[in-house]
């Protein structure tokens, strides 16, 4: 009885507080409950005269009633939001009251991303690039979180965070160069499309294996903590990748080693064709946070202000208190997983249309802007025209550019060229010279 009561009390207090105050204050309450702040757990001296458990592994009370703790999936962790589905502010105290210029920039970045996605998806269909992944429906998670960070914060992504890079100022030409793997690609043409990276913008190059970035983010955050230069790390991943062992490793390490880090889970309902009810049975990803001793929140990922507020507060506290935060941004993947996927094979057009028409981060923000007289139909028309034009111009430039010099196949394996690789390189060129009519040399830079 006592166990159930105390568990109910824990969840009950949470909900009580949520009803009373909303959003961010929940995390403060959860913190009082947390059994770590700052340093290592203090070892209490063992005293068997006390009827309190003395186990080093947990501090709790004894109970003499057999009860299993119920996982709370029916009414799980609530979803923090600032705007309703139309884009009206619900609780004015939660409106971050960003400037018109900032909000317009949010909108323009989200729509520019959307435009770039449409054009590059189409270009794959036409055989111009080999592969592409769109970000449809998740633009709010990218822009809201990116805007809440400092430009010197390091970003570790999965593959559906192009809006973060766009927000930071990565030019269209470089997005295109990577997708086309042309000679301007910072990655030197080595990876499939959408595997972007930028040292200047502190966006670590994307890699295909899922969740590998999660423990890496913990290590990077630890190094930044020691540097003590007010920098944080954010680590993006999907709800599917959260099933990987690396996710468990990363969460546990970041909590035990006290790292200034934000874990940002984009829960978009699908991992390719696998829906969430086949991915997990608990209350999503946010509910795992407390298991690691981590402060956690669930937000409406299609509400750019909710994402912004949560990320901003998490970032502030992660750096001030040297502890990780878990944000689960609920959203919906409107597009296919990639150009290699046709999602009509596993979900209905009606389901996709609901999200596209009734709960979209771009339209919700537009409503917020139009309500304030910040954006008109004319603005929309001319912006659409202008953004399409700039994307098409970048596209045409990327199309014409040669591919990187084939020499670059052999460099950067190690920092230095090795004798073995040198021999292979020379052997390759001799072969290609001899059989040159069979190799597409003209497409490559000399």
């Amino acid at each position: 009885m006592a166990a159930v009561r105390s568990m109910n009390k824990m969840y009950g207090v949470c909900f009580h507080v949520v009803r009373q105050t909303a959003g961010l204050k929940v995390s403060r309450l959860l913190q009082h409950r947390a059994f770590r702040v700052g340093a290592v757990q203090r070892q209490q001296p063992f005293d068997s005269t006390l009827e309190k458990p003395q186990f080093p592994g947990a501090s709790a009370d004894f109970v003499d009633q057999l009860d299993f703790i119920q996982p709370n999936v029916i009414s799980g962790i609530p979803v923090y939001r600032v705007m309703d589905r139309q884009g009206n502010i619900i609780n004015p105290s939660q409106d971050p009251q960003l400037s018109k210029e900032t909000v317009l920039n949010f909108y323009q970045k989200m729509t520019l991303l959307n435009t770039m996605d449409r054009i590059l998806y189409e270009s794959q269909r036409q055989g111009r690039i080999s592969f592409y992944m769109t970000n449809y429906g998740e633009e709010g998670t990218h822009i809201g979180s990116a805007a809440a960070l400092d430009p010197n914060d390091i970003v570790f992504g999965q593959y559906r965070e192009a809006g973060v890079l766009m927000y930071r100022g990565f030019p269209l030409d470089l997005f295109m160069a990577q997708c086309y793997a042309n000679a301007d690609d910072l990655g030197k043409g080595r990876q499939m499309p959408v595997h972007y990276g930028s040292k200047d913008l502190n966006f670590v190059t994307i890699s295909s294996p899922l969740a590998t970035q999660i423990p890496q983010a913990a290590g990077a955050a630890y190094a930044l903590k020691r540097e003590n230069m007010n920098r944080a790390v954010i680590c993006y991943f999907g709800e599917g990748a959260a099933s990987e062992g690396d996710a468990h490793a990363g969460f546990n390490f970041s909590a035990t080693l006290e790292c200034p880090l934000i874990f940002f889970c984009r829960n978009n309902g699908y991992a390719i064709s696998t829906p969430t009810n086949e991915q997990y049975r608990g209350d999503g990803i946010a509910a795992r946070g407390p298991g690691y001793g981590m402060l956690s929140i669930r937000v409406d990922g299609n509400d750019v202000f909710a994402v912004y507020n949560a990320t901003k507060e998490a970032r502030r506290r992660a750096v001030a208190e040297n502890q990780p935060f878990l944000i689960e941004a609920m959203t919906y993947r409107i597009g296919h997983h990639s150009t290699s996927d046709d999602s009509s094979a596993y979900r209905s057009v009606d389901e996709v249309n609901y999200w596209d028409k009734q709960d979209h981060p771009i339209s919700r923000l537009r409503h917020y802007m139009t309500t304030r007289g910040w954006w008109s139909e004319d603005d929309e028309r001319s912006w659409r025209k202008q953004s399409r034009k700039t994307v098409m111009e970048a596209f045409e430039r990327a199309e014409k550019r040669l591919k990187p010099n084939v020499e670059l196949m052999f460099t950067d394996v190690y920092q230095e060229m090795t004798p073995g690789l040198n021999k292979q390189r020379e052997s390759m060129w001799r072969h290609v010279q001899q059989y040159k009519e069979h190799y597409p040399l003209d497409l490559y830079d000399k």
Partner: protein, 328 residues
């Protein structure tokens, strides 16, 4: 004359780590149980000397240890990760092969984890059985982008470990655990490095080239003496030291001279690193060979417990292999 101190192999490792923590403020050492000094005492005294933010325990999770190490290195720290036994490195295989090894190449040199060094106790120890005796170098030899290094003695261990730490590529440093206490030398107290990817000729000879690394070098030294005394055969003994990228030039030059090659390692023979050496040498030195290249290695079984004396490539097996090559 550099000042030296009598050190065994684990003490020479501690010395290298001590030098590193002293000179590089970004250096951190982490892994299971490193805080109290480590299960093989390689990190004794370092936490007290340099602080708990620099020498610390991690949770029990090899994929986390290596992933964390990669991230720390990417962010600019000198990250020295300890895996408690090489036998337990496999959960980290994805992080090592798919991430660490490819970080620089895939990013077009925007990012790298060259500051990462992974250390792990390696090789047979008399009673280690399946999971405390493994020599996994062959798995990693197949992975462009990392370096794999194995010392034979305390002096080599300190110099090669410091070279790995300084090297701007992710390195795996396997430490022969049977030598931790057993091998004792006068080791320079100050830091020094021994070049990577350079095999060392320990003893010159004219009839047979012997190639090995780690503990097996000591076996081969005895074999060379036996061959000289009993067969009048002069052996050239080479310590490969770096498995990847390996020094093909030194080995091939030696085989051109002697015409015979014996490679020996504890790891199972099929797909073991001797196969790579053998393949390259026959390509480069085919017409110089007087006999087929000989490999004396572990059998293709998991490393057994009670049968260890029969499993290992001991001096009698190596001696017999030399006899066969000479009489071919």
């Amino acid at each position: 004359m550099r000042p030296t101190q009598k050190m065994n192999l684990f003490q020479s490792v501690t010395s290298a780590l001590d030098n590193t923590l002293a000179s590089d403020p970004t250096a951190v050492i982490f892994g299971e149980d490193v805080a109290f000094g480590g299960v093989f005492r390689c990190t004794v005294g370092l936490r007290d000397k340099y602080g708990k933010d620099r020498v610390f325990n991690t949770p029990l999770c090899e994929q986390g240890i290596v992933g964390f190490g990669i991230g720390a290195a990417v962010a600019g720290a000198t990250a020295i990760a300890e895996i408690q036994f090489a036998d337990y490195i496999y959960p980290a295989f994805d992080q090592i092969v798919n991430e660490a090894a490819k970080y620089r190449y895939r990013s077009g040199n925007l990012f790298d984890c060259g500051n990462l060094t992974i250390r792990a106790p390696w090789g047979c120890v008399g009673h280690g059985s399946l999971y405390h005796s493994q020599s996994p170098e062959a798995f990693f030899a197949h992975c462009p982008g990392i370096k794999v290094v194995i010392p034979r003695s305390p002096v080599q261990a300190k110099g090669l470990l410091l070279a790995c730490i300084a090297d701007q590529n992710p390195c795996i440093f396997f430490e022969p655990k049977i030598l931790y206490r057993a091998a004792v030398e006068q080791v320079p107290v100050e830091p020094y490095t021994i070049p990577l990817s350079q095999a060392e000729i320990l003893q010159e000879g004219s009839d047979v080239t012997l190639v090995a690394w780690g503990t097996q070098i000591h076996v081969m030294r005895e074999v060379a003496n036996m061959a000289q005394e009993k067969l009048g055969v002069s052996c050239e003994l080479i310590d490969l030291q770096t498995i990847l990228p390996w020094d093909t030039e030194t080995v091939c030059k030696s085989v051109v001279k002697t015409g015979r090659l014996l490679i020996s390692h504890e790891a199972p023979i099929t797909g073991g690193f001797a196969a790579e050496i053998s393949s390259t040498v026959q390509e480069e030195c085919f017409l110089n060979l007087e006999a087929p290249i000989s490999r004396v290695c572990g059998y293709d079984t998991p490393f057994p417990h009670i049968f260890e004396p029969f499993y290992i490539p001991d001096k009698w097996k190596c001696f017999e292999a030399i006899k066969k090559m000479i009489n071919y």
